[in-house]
């Protein structure tokens, strides 16, 4: 497809403004740009047709099954989109919260922030939640900053963060930006964290451990309470990466499991869309130990009026206002619509669907672990790879069935990994179609591997030369 810049014709225009009804004004030339920015000169129809056609080159949840492990690509309800577009939310200026004189003009928005933070706190068994972090990794960073503030406040000289080898790459990266040294902890053969490895790594310098639960192998960590107790004995803290919260709503709460601090991914668990990679939202939740350090200001409620207050030892601001507010509006609508029972049912069906896929595929693909999968299941394509068909080939072949690929090559602990997370909103029919395709592909891996190497064939482009991209670096025109 042509670039929008290639469709430009000198003199063509789209958007028009009111005629200028005040005198023209100018600035000294030294303060002005020499030439206008070379933006495309196109009509509105040019723009509409261009971006409509671009959109048609994408897979999205609305058009395709999207079983990306660890990403929770569930259906994004239209109700949430509708309410986020209400002008009282979408057109509201954030500085109305900044000065007391305006605060009466944004009471509905402040109430929504308050209500959403309360609901998330109850869902996770945390004392308080802050909506400020803008994405999951930003929530991790905020959590790590809270942990650092806690230890600084207590005079603890702790500078090390423990991270399991199965963790998302964001965990060690976030810990490093929060100033911690990162030490990796090994998983056991059954896919859960090794208690003895935690014990071995634990010393006076350890500030905390970042854990995903269920972990990125899709397995619940059965010794999580022991790990929490172990850490707390030496005044270290336990962090919950909320990426997989969709597995346990109503069945376990991070706060009850002994976690001190966590982030939520509203764009995973609470039905808000992923938007081609963002915006997300990564609220942070804390237990008693970290409450005083939360980012500020926070919304408080006194006698039905919503106001702002900054916690005594607040780490400060991680966002200019209340994070990605319009994402929180969607999540709030989602939580209200499902209610307590609906959230619990969502997790139950997510786990049912993943286990169904596992049961149907375990005879065809090599399970990475024997049992115990919750909301996602992990296979290894190592046996296929020996015969010359890699996880990547399987992923590409699925695209030709109109199915998005699972997550491949993550977690790093599993060779040729295929990580499948179907989510609760998919029907048995869709799961069957996916499993049938996976089984057919496994057959082709034996009978006709070259057909898989040639996939995909029905997409706008075939496999792209990523080495050429990285060497030539044509990143703009």
């Amino acid at each position: 497809m042509q670039l929008i810049f290639e469709k430009s014709r000198p003199g063509r225009r789209a958007a028009q403004f009111d005629a200028l009804d005040v005198p023209e004004a100018s600035l000294p030339p030294a303060l002005c740009r020499a030439e206008p920015a070379e933006l495309p000169e196109v009509s509105e129809l040019d723009v509409v047709r261009h971006f409509t056609q671009l959109s048609q080159q994408n897979f999205g949840v609305d058009s395709n099954f999207y079983p990306l492990g660890s990403c929770t690509m569930k259906y994004n309800p239209k109700l949430a989109e509708a309410v986020a577009a209400y002008p009282g939310f979408s057109e509201l200026h954030p500085h109305l919260s900044t000065c007391p004189a305006f605060r009466g003009l944004c009471q509905g928005a402040l109430e929504l922030v308050y209500e959403t933070e309360q609901a998330l706190a109850e869902i996770a068994g945390m004392r308080k939640v802050s909506l400020q972090p803008i994405a999951g990794a930003h929530g991790e960073l905020t959590g790590a900053l809270l942990m650092a503030a806690y230890h600084r406040d207590k005079g603890n000289a702790k500078d090390t963060m423990l991270v399991p080898d199965s963790a998302h790459g964001t965990n060690p990266a976030s810990a490093a930006i929060a100033g911690f040294k990162v030490v990796q902890v090994a998983s056991a053969a059954d896919g859960t964290i090794r208690l003895d490895a935690v014990k071995e790594a634990l010393n006076e310098s350890v500030a905390g451990l970042m854990l995903t639960c269920p972990n990125t192998h899709g397995l619940f960590e059965p010794r999580v309470r022991e790990i929490a107790d172990l850490l707390h004995e030496s005044d270290a803290l336990l962090y919950y990466d909320g990426a997989n919260l969709n597995a346990i709503m109503g069945h376990a709460r991070p706060g009850d499991l002994g976690f001190d601090v966590m982030h939520f991914n509203l764009h995973k668990t609470f039905g808000t869309p992923h938007g081609m990679g963002g915006p997300g939202s990564g609220p942070v939740g804390v237990g008693e130990r970290l409450e005083a350090f939360l980012p500020g200001p926070r919304v408080v409620c006194e006698g039905g009026r919503y106001d702002l207050e900054t916690p005594a030892k607040s780490i400060g601001k991680v966002a200019a206002f209340f994070g990605n507010f319009l994402i929180a509006v969607r999540a709030c609508a989602y939580i209200r619509h499902l209610g307590g029972p609906g959230l619990k049912e969502a997790s139950e069906n997510a786990v049912l669907n993943a286990n169904y896929v596992f049961a149907r595929l375990k005879g065809t693909y090599q399970p990475a672990f024997e049992s115990g999968f919750m909301h996602e299941c992990v296979f290894s394509a190592a046996p296929q790879a020996k015969a010359g068909v890699r996880a990547l080939d399987i992923a590409k072949a699925l695209l030709d069935y109109g199915l998005h690929a699972p997550t491949v090559y993550f977690p790093l602990t599993v060779r040729e990994s295929l990580m499948i997370e179907p989510t609760e909103t998919e029907s048995k029919d869709t799961l069957d179609a996916f499993c049938d395709a996976m089984i057919e592909i496994a057959g082709k891996a034996e009978s006709d591997p070259d057909s898989l190497h040639a996939a995909p064939r029905t997409m706008p482009v075939g496999r792209l030369d990523e080495v050429r991209a990285a060497r030539q670096l044509d990143c703009s025109c």
Binding site: Y409, V467, A470
Partner: protein
Amino acid sequence: MFPAECRFTKDHEWIRDDGGQHTVGITAFAAEQLGDVTYVELPEPGSRLSAGDTAASVESVKAASDVYAPAGGEVCEVNEALDGKPELVNQDPYGEGWFFKLSDVDADELEQLMDAAAYEQFVGEHSE
């Protein structure tokens, strides 16, 4: 399989005495594991390194790896050809794909490193 005139580290660097100066690169095994190299970040000429210091980094499409100094010394030259042609690392790892040269290398430190036979055995044990 691996050049006899080089010594090797467990991190898959090689070092070779080229008459006073020592040349450093990564082994053919390491280059193959990385895949097509797309970028090499080299040390500052004139900088002093101790054995085990991070000296360079090498990137492919799917991986990034630090390159450590096999022995201490002063960086006296870097391979600027890698800037435009990082594929030299894959094509000729012990020749045109070298990374940097060290002067003032302590011969005792080289003794601690593996010779070609030992490295070949090491790779055999660790490649599965």
